[in-house]
């Protein structure tokens, strides 16, 4: 009713310029907030690219990818990424061997076996694992796990890839288990009922119906977990050491890409030198690897998504 809203019935329409302007200002303010984080990301990538570019003007990409030595501080420096990449992958593979099965089995237990009350207790406890600072994991590896390993294999180095793998594995269990559990729980109850109705046991329902139906989510959680393991820094810097060597022996000391970045940035590497720029080249490599893994997990999720009905 015109009278109730205070506008006389015969009044001409008012122009809405002022209100439009207000809406537009708010729109722009929100847009700038969204734009800021995007710009920061672009800025970081920009710095990575320009500094890496400076690096690759002095070291050819072929050398970078094929040289088997990483000795940036030597008189005759070598900049082959292989030892660092191998260190990262050695630890990521070890961590994956621990975290993927444990994480998946934990997820199956939480989703299919645990009652509501037990899950209510276990899930928060598991999430605490994700909340422990990674530096604590590093010291746990160095002071607890490594001595245990040396009891079994006395030749184990003080800094070794295996203890780092173990703690990184423990660290990424929550990532794997919680994402996998989400995927398992998203499988419709009707599918479980159908399988039970055919005389399947709980184990058969879980492993032959629910897990395959949730496979895309489970694989995505695996990729994300591995990607976290490759990017993990503090624990591996402390536990795995800083000896850039090309080895597949987990009892030896290795340096990962992340650990190199830490140790090189802690020292006073002068700006503009080749070892300063090498930081960015390694950072760029790391960024490309984790970026590709994220893309891969997105692709897996989209490609293999089961359309439940």
């Amino acid at each position: 009713m015109g009278a109730e809203s205070g506008i006389p019935h015969s009044a001409p329409l008012t122009f809405r310029r002022v209100r439009d302007l207000k809406e537009r200002v708010i729109g722009w303010a929100l847009f700038s907030c969204a734009a800021l984080s995007t710009l920061i990301t672009l800025g970081i990538v920009g710095v990575l690219v320009t500094e890496s570019f400076a690096f690759f003007r002095q070291v050819s990409i072929v050398d970078f990818l094929t040289d088997r030595q990483w000795t940036p501080m030597f008189q005759d420096p070598h900049f082959g990424i292989m030892p660092l990449a191998a260190g990262s992958f050695l630890i990521a593979i070890g961590a994956a061997l621990i975290a993927l099965p444990l994480g998946l089995m934990t997820a199956i237990f939480l989703s299919e076996y645990a009652g509501d009350r037990l899950r209510g207790v276990l899930k928060p406890m598991l999430e605490i694992l994700a909340g422990i600072p990674t530096v604590v994991y590093g010291y746990f590896a160095l002071t607890f796990i490594t001595p245990l390993l040396r009891v079994v294999w006395p030749e184990t180095d003080v800094f070794n890839a295996l203890s780092a793998s173990i703690v990184v594995g423990i660290m990424i269990i929550p990532t794997v288990s919680s994402l996998s559990e989400d995927a398992l729980r998203a499988v419709p109850l009707a599918l479980r009922a159908g399988a039970y109705g055919l005389g399947a046991t709980k184990l058969e329902v879980s492993t032959k119906v629910v897990v395959p139906a949730a496979l895309s989510g489970i694989i995505a959680s695996f990729i994300l977990g591995i990607s976290r393991a490759i990017g993990e820094t503090m624990a591996v810097t402390i536990a795995a050491g800083s000896l850039a060597q090309l080895t597949m022996n987990p009892l030896e000391s290795v340096q990962t890409m992340t650990a190199y970045i830490v140790s090189a940035s802690l020292g006073d590497t002068p700006r503009g030198t080749i070892s300063y720029q090498s930081l960015f080249a390694v950072g760029m490599t790391l960024f490309i690897i984790t970026f590709m893994m994220n893309i891969l997990s997105q692709w897996v999720l989209a490609r293999f998504r089961e359309e439940y009905q």
Binding site: A193, G194, G197, G199, A200, V209, P212, A213, Q309
Partner: protein, 260 residues
Amino acid sequence: MATTHDIDTDGQDPALEARAVSVFYGDKQAVKEIDLVIPANKVVALIGPSGCGKSTLLRCFNRMNDLVAGARVEGEINFHGTNLYQDDVDPVEVRRRIGMVFQKPNPFPKSIYNNLAFGPKVNGFKGDLDGLVEESLKQAALWDEVHDRLSDSAYALSGGQQQRLCIARTLAVKPEIVLMDEPASALDPIATQRIEELIFELKKQYTIVIVTHNMQQAARISDYTAFLYMGELVEYGPTDLLFTNPSEERTEAYVTGRFG
């Protein structure tokens, strides 16, 4: 008290015999002391308004209620002289011998072939699996439509085909009894008709207990009908009798469409 008319079991042992079956969900009693004899090789329809307990009763017959948190069953259901709820009875074996088809088609996200093969495999079937798949699909009148694309996803089938696939999947386990929980309620009239024709064929070999909302459907396909209301069995007898000359006033009111 319920009115139960003569149930002619043709001199055979009944397929199932429920005695004083009650089901509780927490404090709520969904099924109240129902006695029901299911004759072998017949189709028995359970009808009644929503929430009358007919689906709950059906799920008692193969212990699917075990999977519902907070559900409790009292009374006994005899199957070949054994109470299904006896302590030492394995519910997994019960469900293999008494199969179930659900309201909404629920094929697994697997190929047509693997949907069929799942049941036999988990039950340790050793033999000609291909032959069993073909036989079951033929029994469910689906073979002609899918024989050249068994490796396609079951989700590529239409709703009606999916439901026949689910029936075939149940038959592949070779149950004695097939329980059907409103198997056609999510389907169009033509698909519904095909399911009904199928039920007609299947009763030659199987005992079928079907829950339905649709009274015409019950009248068309069943030999016996049980009318449930608010968790109680009101009347049970030959379908013709129940629909044309029921003894209970509530039955008459329901089948003539005065409520429900």
